[in-house]
Symmetry: D2
Subunit: 411 residues, 4 copies
Amino acid sequence: MSKIKDACLADGGYISYSWAKSHMKILTESAGRLKKSKPLRGLTLGFCMQMTKETSVLLVCAKELGAKVVACGGNPLTTHDDVAAFLDSRGIITYAWSDQSKSEYEWCQDQVLSHKPQILVDDGGDLNTKAHFDNRFKTLKVIGATEETTTGVNRYAAMQHKVQLRYPIIAVNNAKTKMMFDNRYGTGQSTIDGYLRAMNLIFASKTVVVSGYGWLGRGVVQRCSGMGSKVIVTEIDPIKALEAHMDGFDVMPMDRAAKVGDIFITCTGMTSVIRKEHLLQMKDGAVVGNVGHFDVEIDAKFLLSRSTTRKIRPNLDECVMPGGKKIYLVSKGRVANLVASEGHPPEVMAMSFSNQLHCILYLVKHHKKMKPRVYDVPKEIDDHVALDVLHASRIKIDKLTKRQTKYLHSW
Amino acid sequence: MSKIKDACLADGGYISYSWAKSHMKILTESAGRLKKSKPLRGLTLGFCMQMTKETSVLLVCAKELGAKVVACGGNPLTTHDDVAAFLDSRGIITYAWSDQSKSEYEWCQDQVLSHKPQILVDDGGDLNTKAHFDNRFKTLKVIGATEETTTGVNRYAAMQHKVQLRYPIIAVNNAKTKMMFDNRYGTGQSTIDGYLRAMNLIFASKTVVVSGYGWLGRGVVQRCSGMGSKVIVTEIDPIKALEAHMDGFDVMPMDRAAKVGDIFITCTGMTSVIRKEHLLQMKDGAVVGNVGHFDVEIDAKFLLSRSTTRKIRPNLDECVMPGGKKIYLVSKGRVANLVASEGHPPEVMAMSFSNQLHCILYLVKHHKKMKPRVYDVPKEIDDHVALDVLHASRIKIDKLTKRQTKYLHSW
Amino acid sequence: MSKIKDACLADGGYISYSWAKSHMKILTESAGRLKKSKPLRGLTLGFCMQMTKETSVLLVCAKELGAKVVACGGNPLTTHDDVAAFLDSRGIITYAWSDQSKSEYEWCQDQVLSHKPQILVDDGGDLNTKAHFDNRFKTLKVIGATEETTTGVNRYAAMQHKVQLRYPIIAVNNAKTKMMFDNRYGTGQSTIDGYLRAMNLIFASKTVVVSGYGWLGRGVVQRCSGMGSKVIVTEIDPIKALEAHMDGFDVMPMDRAAKVGDIFITCTGMTSVIRKEHLLQMKDGAVVGNVGHFDVEIDAKFLLSRSTTRKIRPNLDECVMPGGKKIYLVSKGRVANLVASEGHPPEVMAMSFSNQLHCILYLVKHHKKMKPRVYDVPKEIDDHVALDVLHASRIKIDKLTKRQTKYLHSW
Amino acid sequence: MSKIKDACLADGGYISYSWAKSHMKILTESAGRLKKSKPLRGLTLGFCMQMTKETSVLLVCAKELGAKVVACGGNPLTTHDDVAAFLDSRGIITYAWSDQSKSEYEWCQDQVLSHKPQILVDDGGDLNTKAHFDNRFKTLKVIGATEETTTGVNRYAAMQHKVQLRYPIIAVNNAKTKMMFDNRYGTGQSTIDGYLRAMNLIFASKTVVVSGYGWLGRGVVQRCSGMGSKVIVTEIDPIKALEAHMDGFDVMPMDRAAKVGDIFITCTGMTSVIRKEHLLQMKDGAVVGNVGHFDVEIDAKFLLSRSTTRKIRPNLDECVMPGGKKIYLVSKGRVANLVASEGHPPEVMAMSFSNQLHCILYLVKHHKKMKPRVYDVPKEIDDHVALDVLHASRIKIDKLTKRQTKYLHSW
């Protein structure tokens, strides 16, 4: 019943799945413990997620727990066709192929919803939005949903504000073991990876300008510093700026940083961080890229329109400005850590997807008592995932003694 | 009217005051800008704080803004007599001397309250508690108070819970520019300082066990790592433990860490972190100390009672256990960063005391609209202090453009 | 007269050349200053070097200084055909294409020597060896040569020992600005790059075992540590082991490290560092690779023969041992930093090739006074290259004052 | 027969000795293994060394190995009288007390030589010089000597050059396990310690200017960076400057660094590094100090003569320049890491003194074959000391296999 590019690619998809699986043990072992009791039996789950090797591990787990699993891609461009073929070969109903048109992308979502899933797992909010506002699906009986991204969570928050939500949605994105870790450690590393592949220049001795000193920026700063770069931080928040200063990094406005930076990495989630006036001031040879949420952080439009541009390396455009100065733009300003590298390592995705799995099970168990609103991941799930990661690394930690618990409560 | 040890010590106190003052410009310049308008004129301020050179800068500022200032020490043991003499010489009514008995300590507080202060500035909650529960002072007309410590804030929270608070108290302790900074950077450094003075052993290559990976523990871990030590973290919170693990440090329970550590530093705020069973497992020569809130983190009582003890260096006791194993205890388990070193550097105290000064002014302006409860420091004060520190370091940061503000609000 | 794969590829080669050139300014600017005087006029230079974009910059420089330039590849497999085509289009006589047989590889060297070069620039010693021992070329009048690698230098040292050298050879490899920098910074970074591409696992929290704490090992250790890994060092030299210990890293024999490591990186230049007995002890999932000189550091033969092997990712083989344990081998044990990534960044090659260019000019000027032996790079060239790099980064440094010079000589 | 200040101080000296001893196990255990055979029986050893707790451990070891030990202080000012008393109580003939005049200092050396020592252990070269050029001692039958310092080694090198040496002298200073380690790790830490005690300002966020990037400077840079400072390096050597640059630090001439630094630390061994013109450019509040060999690195004379000076803290002078700018001078420009702190930790001294002990034993065994010149510490002693330190830390390392030895020799 699936619609995929080529079922013959399943073997390659299986190799990718195997590699990812062996680095996502916290997810597969959690699932393994529940396999016998089939806690998802009788349920249909609808997934709208990036079709990557890591996602395939989550989908197979869900199936092994007894669910009927139906899936489409969370992005029209990024489906790995071999992974989709592998999923199909495992009995997961899959509507996904690479390079879809917008209408094809929507059609796939329609197919997923046509299976009448009771639980939706979304990555950006498209599936849940359709389930709320598309007349064909308004009568679906959804007991709850989970959401992987900030963007999705924001969309549901707006819907909740307007009292439009029809079922509870758990913001997996907000779990500490998701947000704190994929931003700092996942993106920190994949940023280095993406820039290395795009430019293959040496980080050591370079001046790297990092915009934003939130979780994301901190992760990036630490890795750049670890590669031997001098780091300059730009910020708009005085307290974060002060932290960067106390952490030993140079802090200055973009106006000044633009003149001295060799490499620029925006990490803000804000628009127009590197603007026309900054691009005009940069040194010849500056490399400019973004790892924040969207491609709005750099004024790439200005850069590309005012310069003679050629692709000089994969994911790197050379922009020759009037006067001859060259600026290099990484992956056209789109998130370089995903576009120019392979994206988050499987260990990081395992943390996110463990939260997903536990939240799905939580919905099954508790949905009757839940209201149509956005929920944070329960602290016990968050802690549980953390303990699973520690356990997988053979790490034990201390527990409160009775005396300590008493002392704690005396406050 | 003051009661101090020796007025002749004022010159020495003045030198200490000058040194501190020149490193607390964010405080003195804030005060300087307001000097002419005397915003504290007509008010009596009662301080109960550690009588150190840094405190003297805050008291002189308060007086320069027009207040009548009355002060006693926040701790019966720690008053610097030269500082007290200097304050007296500047017309600040001072009741403080070193090595007070408990009753002398209380007498000093009584004297401060007898001046009928409208605003109280407290460091631990003793003064505010007296103002609430001592019959002699129950009729005082206090418009508000500020509090420097976690301990004090906790005490008021309990009072608020029982609806006993009579006036608003601002928890200066909770300001980000206080708590986040003095814990991480102030204590991080003063821990190294205290241990260095106590033991003069080399940090490089030593295995340092840090208990607790909160703000405090992180600061300590970073500095130990920066001195070349291998760091082991013990934690009870799975998420913090996971952060330590992802930050590249060894994480294990104290049971195992006890056997391999060379130096132990407790940073938890919890009781009984290093217990009998751990002390018995430690290596010969282990150095054990605490920089958490109180002296309850190490079972020093057990250690001292079961061993032949002698003071082998200032702030370091050698404890020879039955069998001959030696354990070294830093400053008897009391907070080593304060007892064995000079305590927080003036730049860190300047951040805390700038919050104090701004909160006092805030109380003057807004107390009529405030309720008898514990308030956090207003965000604008927190940001203001951060900007002042950046400004003093000649650092400018970016501001939101109109377009960015609009983008922000679109979410 | 060239023999290359396809002259039509020249345009692509030009783009690569341009990118490299703009990051090798210390080389091109040195050449630029001498362009007019054509100091290499009348000379034929024979190059045997890796045909990469960086090499193309050196060859073009040599031509611009007046030389007739003839070149073949330094390795039968690694020629970039577009670069070779570009060189040909620039009038450099080029004998090089990818995937040569051994006899084709030798034929190319013969062609180079048949042009009767007066100066040879070698990368491994093949060309110089042929010029010494092949009867066809024994009568060549070579005034001198330079050598890029340790291997080549070792071969000449043996020849010098047997009094077989016929002309002076400058060991460019031994320049501080070559060896100290490409090992520490170049390989440090390219090791991270190669492993990231091969495995895409997270470094943070992983235990990385680095064998060897020489220049190479230190560079690798620093970058792994900068990526958030815990590092274990293995060494045979007590003093280097002690340095690693004092630098805060765990030091242990491979016997023990094998049991706890997640990722292994050999950096020794020695044979049989990771042996059968170590492979058998490793954890399931361990990743094993080498960035030392040759592919002898890991007993890959044992690993591949005793396991069921499949390529699971580019440059990564999964080896399933009897019993089911999986070991992952990076690029079959060959130098992962070159095979699995793009190799040294152009800035690092620029330092090496600047030494090459200056040494060529030195030979032209001084060869009459030089003897048939291996020379180190003159200190003034080494210093000169360092100053050029600093200058290109807009960095000035201090100079000795007269007083200081005098003080220095008083010792 | 000793001459010391007060024999009653012996108990205090014993406590210091015990503390040092328990952290110098590599020395005491080496001695312990030889105790029975008394390899120094029948010999008189003359020591001229700093009378510290660490030295007392070396002297007691020498006595336990059978020698008659006679000692005087290596500096007229730095003798710890309690240590001298303790040594006397242990039967070591001691001529040393604090605050000696120059003639008293020389008298003590005369006394040592009057005991006709066969081996001299010197710390600066005064004792050996006297043994060579003072007519009273020219006939002494010395079989050899050892030297702790660079200064001493330089003096003997000059004597060797003039063919004046009468017996072999081993340059313990040049051992890798001495020089590389006390400079990097010992001084790195003691510099932080000395500055912390002198100024008690926060390192985090401060700009620290370190002059010199040799072993010493690197150690200091690493520790400052580890304390959260931004580091600027000044250098005169292009290659060292380039290393600092590639290590991610700012490099600039002192002219520019003077304007932006908060804290200055000279580590060069050169004269006049911070000169008049630099002092005049510094920011108000700059802290200036030296940890290089002598007090010539900063033009303290200019600073003190052109400013109103007062001691504002122990080892810190406030210098108010005309115009009101304040510069703070640490320990009057003398080596701050020794003057303002306790000096090297005992673990570092243990490495140096183990070399001393082994070299003394080496002289006993080999002196007949040795010539009257300066010898480096034999590599086997250096390695042995390194292994002892590793062993004391319970660390084992790998050994070459037969196959590896063969491979090594194939080069």
